[in-house]
Amino acid sequence: MRANDYLDALRMPEDLDRELLLVSGFRRAIERKGRETFTPATRLALEEIQRGMDELFGHLVRPATGDAERSAEERLRLYLTEADAHGAFFRSRAIHGELLDALRDIRLETTPPLQPASIMPKPLELTGWGMRLRQLAERFAPAGNSRVLAWILGLAALAILAFTSL
């Protein structure tokens, strides 16, 4: 079931290639299960499916690639060469040399080479008025930070205005 789910997740069409991949994977998994009794069947099946994938697509990945990354690299190539074209890989390993080289060199480059430039922040130069206002603001900042004090001052100012307007 899990192996089938995985091939579904790979959007692999339900065709003979898929059946062969599954069957050969299951066969190897069953053989291994006889030797490795305590290894879960799900794991064995998925590992053998992956081995089947390696046999089909492993040659598209640079040889030095480690096991951990190999599977991801294979899938990346499948993805970039369109999932619909899977069949071509299944049916023939004899891919044209140039295409093979190109596939081996596939690397996702998200950005172009750097052509760096400099953009330096310039300090803000305040006028004389600006400097004075800045000092004033710094002096009264603590009052503004207290919400209660700000309300008291505001209401007091309004009350004085109202009283003098009576």
Partner: protein, 712 residues
């Protein structure tokens, strides 16, 4: 005159100006225009002040009236200036032959230059961002002008799910559109200095790769023709540092969005023409849908740190006005291509989202006060900055004006003083204020009626008139809400605080949830419940004066909720962008993206996992402590599922390509009973052909089939 006029028009202009040079003629003309704006504004302003002083003199001056008078002066100046701009814009459009506009210099045969189209994004919907980009990409391809452009999605997204989906959207878009090498994607690990820092980072990395950059927002859409025209305008105007377009609002679906869209479409042409009429080469920059010459941007627009700390100091939030001011300070021109078609932007779907956006803009604009006090900033740039500040600061001033007037009226009522002592002046002032408020709407309607072909795309004369009336009623109801929010934002910022949001708006087409709306807006009807009876006690006439404001407060919650719905009053508020949209607006470029959590897909989907793992920077070797930390997080993620990790921890796991690849293998290869049920359920989501729980008969058939195949 910098060559900013087409050949015939330039010649006509020189003839008109006499024997002076083109440059001088331009300066003289612009000076006379600015003088006209000043005179009309000053005339209206002084008339308003004179009428109010006549009223107050008759009623007797008091400190409260003096305060009201000062506040009125500030508010009325803005009103008079806005009306003047609209009026002169109306005249300029009626003349139909504006010689002084940047688009007069457009020559379609001008060769294009290397241009970067940059889209800074921050936790946006990838389908929208990449769909809009694809529309522009295909538009340029159809025109055969793609070669000159490269596209950069500059992500600052901190949401791990969104970040993963952006990578996949980028890969999918490049695959579909053959865009590898032309469409680029870069995500910063930390959103330092937010959008301005994002753009500056782009400049540092690729500043010498392109001559221009077209800056788009996540919801911006531009046609290929508009973008190519901007590049050509830059090429023929070598002193232009920035050219800003007039983005039209588009793609709104809710009532609120469509009302704003309609209002902007109907009213903005005369305001935009009026703005260009006087500002000319001293224009402003609105942060998107504009083109920037990169070389002067690098030398002039390094943004300074402001004195003090946030919200009013520290890093600059709204960079656009400041960058325009800095360009101008260094002698570069900033133009407004107000009549260049093909520039669009989206807008928030409801009033709550709208004011959330205003909250950020308010803080950013208030920070600009520092630049009013800075050396080297030109006069008209200061005027732009003041306008930006007053866009929000006018709300508390208006509230204080109303409160001071109300308090004085209450005191008069207590002392049994006579009511209106100067009825004639009061009436004239009332009519004058109404004219300044609603005059531009009438002028806009008049302008539209003079263009029968255009009028059809608004649904015809009756529908557009009804739309204007309904929009006016809607704005009367929503202005008190906006005043309330803007006042809160300004006061909080002045007190050194920012405004946080308690609720999250979930909009499924039926508007924001009632519960959220009531939780956010209950103070408004509560205020109306206090001030309504108080106004009635002061005097019935006074209560009638205040009625529109009180009505807006009473109805705030239902107005916000109902206007956030789709399909309400859909016969009205039609715009040309709805009835005859540009192809770029109705594109249907679908990305082949799975729904759901990007993090889960990055771990489970074989392709997403491969793409994400390959995009992570290759590390030679992490420090053991870092490796242990990431391994511990990965183990926790596997054991307990994604909810057990914070966003920061998720980002740490996702940033490690080999770990992501290993987790993929581990989850798929572990039997369901040995791992967290979350992963089992998530894996079932990828099952496409078989039912989730096959029947016993199906299981037997499958077993038989497998046995037969094995035997074969």
């Amino acid at each position: 005159m910098n060559g900013n006029m087409g050949g015939n028009k330039a010649a006509r202009f020189v003839q008109f100006a006499g024997s002076v040079s083109l440059e001088q003629a331009f300066e003289n003309k612009v000076r006379s225009r600015r003088l006209a704006v000043l005179m009309v504004t000053a005339g209206l302003f002084l008339l308003g002040l004179w009428l109010l002083s006549d009223i107050y003199t008759a009623e007797g001056w008091t400190p409260l009236r003096a305060l009201s008078f000062a506040l009125f002066a500030l508010l009325f100046a803005g009103l008079a200036f806005g009306f003047t701009q609209a009026f002169l814009g109306f005249l300029a459009l009626a003349d139909g032959n504006e010689p002084l506009k940047i688009t007069n210099t457009l020559d379609p045969s001008t060769p294009l230059a290397s241009t970067a189209v940059i889209i800074p994004v921050f936790n946006e919907d990838p389908a929208t961002v990449f769909g809009n980009l694809r529309a522009l990409y295909e538009s340029l391809r159809r025109r055969g002008e793609l070669e000159a452009f490269e596209f950069y999605i500059l992500s600052d997204s901190t949401d791990p799910s969104r970040a993963v989906m952006e990578e996949l959207a980028w890969t999918d878009l490049c695959r579909q559109a053959d865009g590898f090498g032309r469409i680029h994607y870069r995500r910063r690990k930390l959103p330092v200095n937010r959008k301005s820092g994002n753009v500056a980072d782009f400049c540092r990395r690729w500043g010498h790769r392109h001559r221009y950059m077209v800056v788009l927002d996540a919801d911006s859409i531009m046609t290929g023709e508009a973008v190519a025209s901007l590049v050509r305008l830059m090429e023929v105007n070598p002193r232009a540092g920035i050219i800003q377009t007039m983005p039209r609002l588009a793609k709104a679906e809710t009532l609120f969005g469509r009302v704003q869209q309609f209002a902007a479409r109907v009213y903005s042409p005369i305001f935009a023409a009026g703005l260009n009429f006087w500002q000319q080469e001293t224009g402003n920059y609105w942060g998107h849908n504009a083109i920037i010459r990169i070389a002067p941007f690098l030398t002039c627009c390094g943004l300074p740190e402001l004195p003090g700390s946030e919200p009013l100091g520290g890093r600059i939030l709204s960079h656009d006005f400041v960058e325009a001011a800095l360009m101008r300070a260094h002698g570069w021109e900033v133009w407004f291509a107000y009549d260049l078609d093909g520039s669009y932007e989206g807008l928030p779907p409801n009033l709550t989202e709208y004011v959330k956006r205003d909250r950020r803009w308010c803080q950013g604009n208030l920070q600009h006060a520092w630049f009013l006090l800075a050396r080297g900033v030109r006069g008209i740039s200061r005027l732009h900055l003041i306008q930006g500040i007053l866009a929000y600061a006018s709300a508390p001033l208006l509230l204080l004006f109303i409160l001071a007037g109300g308090l004085q009226a209450a005191l008069d009522h207590l002392r049994h003083r006579a009511g209106n002592a100067a009825p004639a002046s009061s009436l004239v002032l009332f009519l004058l204020t109404l004219s300044l408020l609603f005059g531009p709407k009438l002028l806009s309607l008049l302008h539209l009626f003079s263009r029968p072909h255009e009028l059809k795309s608004y649904g015809g004369p009756w529908r557009v008139t009804a739309g204007v009336i309904l929009e006016t009623l809607f704005s009367v109801l929503t202005v008190p809400v906006m005043v309330w929010f803007h006042t809160r934002f300004v006061l909080r910022n002045l007190a050194g605080q920012t405004v946080s949001w308690h609720t999250q708006t979930r909009d499924g087409g039926n508007g924001p949830r009632w519960r959220d709306v009531l939780a956010e807006y209950w103070p408004l009807p509560a205020a109306a419940a206090v001030f309504g009876p108080a106004a009635w006690w002061i005097g019935h006439d006074y209560a009638v004066w205040l009625a529109p404001i009180l009505l807006g407060l009473w109805l705030a919650a239902p107005v916000v909720q109902l206007s956030g719905r789709k399909g309400v009053l859909s016969r009205f508020f039609q715009t040309p962008e709805e009835t005859a949209p540009a192809p770029e607006l109705i594109h249907n470029y679908r990305l082949n993206l799975r729904d759901g959590d990007g993090l889960v897909h990055a771990l489970l989907d074989p392709y997403y996992n491969a793409v994400h793992a390959s995009l992570q920077p290759k590390r030679v070797r992490n420090a053991p402590a870092v490796e242990d930390y990431v391994a511990g997080l990965a183990a926790k993620l596997f054991r307990e599922g994604p909810d057990a990790l914070s966003a920061r921890e998720k980002r740490a796991v996702l940033a490690d390509g080999p770990t992501v690849a290993r987790l993929h293998d581990l989850i798929w290869r572990t039997p369901g009973q040995l791992m967290n049920p979350f992963w089992t359920r998530a894996i079932e989501g990828y099952r496409s052909r078989r039912p989730a729980s096959p029947s016993e008969a199906q299981r037997s058939a499958e077993r038989a089939r497998a046995t037969a195949l094995l035997a074969a």
